[in-house]
């Protein structure tokens, strides 16, 4: 088994409202799994089911091949979207308390906290109260508390909100490092550029149903339209455009370029290859720019949600 977490046709209703309808996901060990979807799609409900906060009506969830049980709590680290800390409690005390709730001993928690506080350069906050810290500072503490007990599965819901770009980057690197050290990550966000950067695998949930699931690479391949961006240097733009139009499907392109080129998007038929296009183009003009248009996670997200 190389799946750390398997959710099998999980459904949950709140009264008449269906929050999850037969949703299944498989998260393989050591991967970063992107759980995407518009607001109110049911992501948080699914995450809560995995955290045993909410019980599913039907379906079951396996962690490491075992049905979820209360002792699994210590194997999961969860950073919820709606997060906060006790405002009047001191940073160190609070972190110790939360670590102990995850089943760590006090001395071990202290040792690991020291390590993390030094790593993130927040060692001198130990005796400060949360209300004295800025939002970004509190978020750092929250991150440390989430990963402190070295869980097998980390669940981050919008982990970068509240961070400035520098700290967001810092946290991103930490997440990648944790993955490299063997942790599996479920990552829920609206920021598609971080999905591109981090996720190996994504699932898209819309109106309580899973509508897309797979490796990010595969999905991109599936969504790509065999379209190429080209930048051409020519004296007579309209002649060249017409010439190309005779052979290929052409539309206007918009990309940034240093030169004042003729910019086109050229869509190939499934029988044609990029080499066909390239050899045709080089025979007619100088090619300054040649790039396959790969759909971004953002494009895929919007397209899938709109079409469903």
């Amino acid at each position: 088994m190389d799946n750390l977490l398997v959710a099998d046709s999980v459904s949950k209703k709140f009264g008449k409202f269906t929050a999850l309808n037969n949703v299944s996901i498989e998260v393989s060990k050591g991967s970063i799994f992107g759980l995407l979807g518009p607001n109110g799609a049911g992501k948080t409900t699914l995450i809560r089911v995995i955290n045993q906060i909410t019980m599913p009506d039907t379906g079951n969830v396996l962690l490491d091949g075992q049905p979820l049980q209360s002792h699994h709590i210590k194997d999961i680290g969860y950073l919820p979207e709606e997060r906060g800390l006790y405002k009047s409690m001191k940073v160190g005390e609070q972190a110790l308390y939360l670590a102990q709730l995850k089943g760590m001993s006090k001395s071990e928690a202290k040792k690991r906290l020291k390590y993390w506080f030094e790593k993130l350069e927040i060692g001198d906050w130990w005796n400060k109260k949360i209300q004295e810290l800025s939002k970004g500072m509190a978020q750092k503490i929250q991150f440390v508390v989430t990963v402190l007990h070295q869980p097998k599965l980390l669940i981050f819901d919008e982990p970068f909100s509240g961070f400035d770009p520098i700290n967001a980057n810092l946290i991103k690197d930490e997440i990648l490092q944790l993955r490299d050290e063997g942790a599996t990550v479920i990552f829920s966000t609206h920021r598609m550029e971080s999905v591109e950067e981090l996720c190996d695998h994504i699932a898209l949930i819309h109106e309580s149903n899973k509508i897309l699931d797979g490796k990010l690479q595969d999905i991109k391949r599936q969504f790509k339209t065999n379209t190429f961006e080209v930048g051409l240097v020519t004296d007579n733009e309209s002649d060249l455009t017409n010439l190309i139009k005779e052979k290929f499907e052409v539309s206007k392109a918009d990309f940034k370029s240093l030169n004042d080129d003729l910019k086109l998007n050229i869509k190939l038929k499934s029988t044609e290859t990029s080499n066909d296009l390239l050899s045709f183009l080089t025979s007619k003009a100088q090619v300054n720019h040649f790039n396959e248009l790969v759909p971004t996670a953002n494009d895929i997200f919007i397209q899938t949600v709109k079409n469903s």
Binding site: F14, G15, I53, K74, P80, R83, G84, K87, S88, K102
Partner: protein, 437 residues
């Protein structure tokens, strides 16, 4: 994993270290004692003020019955008209003037007794004057009809009915008063405890919601555990505060009465008056003895055990409801609509306790309310000193425990759903729906 001790510890320490909690703990007894001292001091001032009352007795019957006391001086006027007497009393700033007119016979004298004063005279003073006059005139009338007063006095029989239950338990009036005080104190303490610390639990739940820490916690702990931990931790903080209040209050009381020489135990609370009346009917030297035996006669073991059971049961019952309210709302202002159904039975219990248990501890009303779980802790605690059959106590405790388990289940349901709901002000209908989630 059982995190209950950990949660209790955190709740307790956070409460106890909280600045406003510390200030309240220390300041409340100081303020209370200061207030009592001021009131005691003022009433002493008032009592020690000497009053002079002019007496104009034109009948000649009653002059000799007015003897000066510490607080009251009597000035007997003679050979003046009522108009002059009034003038004199007013000029000399006397408290008042008692005028007894001349009459053909005693009955006509009785009709013409009048008291003149600048302000409305105090009730106790008037009662004192009336009883003095009544006594004298009764004697006079008896004499007129040829009764020998001395004989009458010596033939007066003094009765103090000894009370005994069919089972042979001896009781007395003073016993009843002691019972009343014990029961009342227990019931009232529970009432105060529920209101003060129930609110504290509610606020602490709301705080977890508004600070958004709840979801972090709830991913490691079961909601029921968190709720129970909160309730128990807060109660322990409450007990700590209560103990500090009692000790600090006691010490301050002693210190203050030593410094100001105000004997606060002589402060006249209504119960103490009753107590004194009851004791006056017995010999003064028997006072302490009978008080001790009254306490001794209380079913102490029963009382202590039942006090603990009802106190814990009643408190947990209400505090779980408070926790549920805290979970259902987003901020304290939204709690109002849910508070009324909690406060109503509580206040009802205290009223039933005060008005019916005193009158008839085993009457229908008191008995019924001592079975209803929402009122039973307060009412039963007030009844127990009067001797309640064990089966009634057991049934009532079982009912209380059953209801308590139900409310904890109910509160946990609301709590579980409510803590993750933000930005909505729920209605009762919605709360009902939550039960089914």
């Amino acid at each position: 994993m059982n995190h209950l001790p950990l949660i209790i510890k955190r709740e307790y320490l956070t409460k106890v270290r909280n600045k406003s909690f510390i200030i309240m703990t220390i300041l409340s007894p100081i303020i209370m004692i200061a207030l009592i001292a001021v009131v005691a001091y003022l009433s002493q001032l008032n009592n020690s003020k000497q009053r002079t009352i002019s007496i104009l007795d034109e009948s000649g019957f009653v002059e000799e019955i007015f003897k000066d006391t510490d607080n009251t001086k009597y000035e007997i006027l003679s050979d003046v008209s009522i108009i002059q007497a009034k003038q004199q009393a007013e000029e000399n700033e006397h408290y008042g003037l008692l005028h007894i007119t001349k009459g053909d016979n005693i009955d006509s004298v009785l009709e013409g007794i009048k008291f003149y004063s600048k302000d409305t005279p105090s009730i106790t003073l008037m009662e004192g004057l009336e009883s003095k006059l009544e006594k004298k005139f009764t004697d006079l009338k008896l004499q007129q009809q040829g009764v020998d007063i001395e004989k009458l006095k010596s033939s007066k029989a003094k009765i103090n009915i000894a009370q005994e239950s069919f089972l042979g338990e001896k009781t007395s009036k003073i016993d009843n008063i002691v019972k009343l005080i014990f029961g009342g104190l227990a019931g009232y303490m529970l009432f105060m405890f529920i209101i003060i610390y129930g609110n504290m639990i509610m606020r602490s739940v709301i705080e977890e919601k508004t600070s958004r820490i709840i979801e972090v916690i709830i991913s490691s702990v079961k909601p029921v555990q968190l709720m129970l931990g909160k309730i128990i931790g807060t109660s322990l903080a409450g007990i700590t505060q209560f103990i500090v209040w009692i000790i600090l209050g006691g010490v301050l009381m002693t210190v203050v009465s030593a410094i100001f020489g105000v004997n606060m135990t002589e402060m006249q609370a209504p119960q103490q008056e009753l107590m004194q009346q009851a004791m006056e009917t017995q010999g003064a030297d028997m006072k302490i003895q009978s008080l001790m035996s009254a306490i001794y006669h209380l079913p102490l073991t029963n009382l202590v055990i039942m006090f603990l059971l009802f106190f814990i049961g009643g408190y947990l019952l209400y505090s779980s409801l408070y926790a549920a309210i805290g979970a259902a709302v987003d901020n304290e202002t939204d709690t109002q609509q849910f508070m009324l159904p909690i406060l109503m039975p509580l206040i009802l219990a205290v009223y039933v306790g005060i008005f019916t248990v005193i009158e008839d501890p085993h009457g229908t009303v008191s008995t019924i309310f001592s079975f209803i779980p929402l009122t039973s802790p307060v009412v039963m605690l007030m009844r127990i000193p009067f001797g309640v059959p064990i089966w009634q106590q057991v049934v009532s405790v079982l009912l209380l425990i059953g209801t308590f388990m139900f409310t904890v289940w109910f509160a946990a349901k609301i709590y579980r759903v409510g803590i993750l709901m933000y930005g909505k002000k729920p209605s009762y209908k919605e709360l009902y729906k939550w039960l089914k989630y």
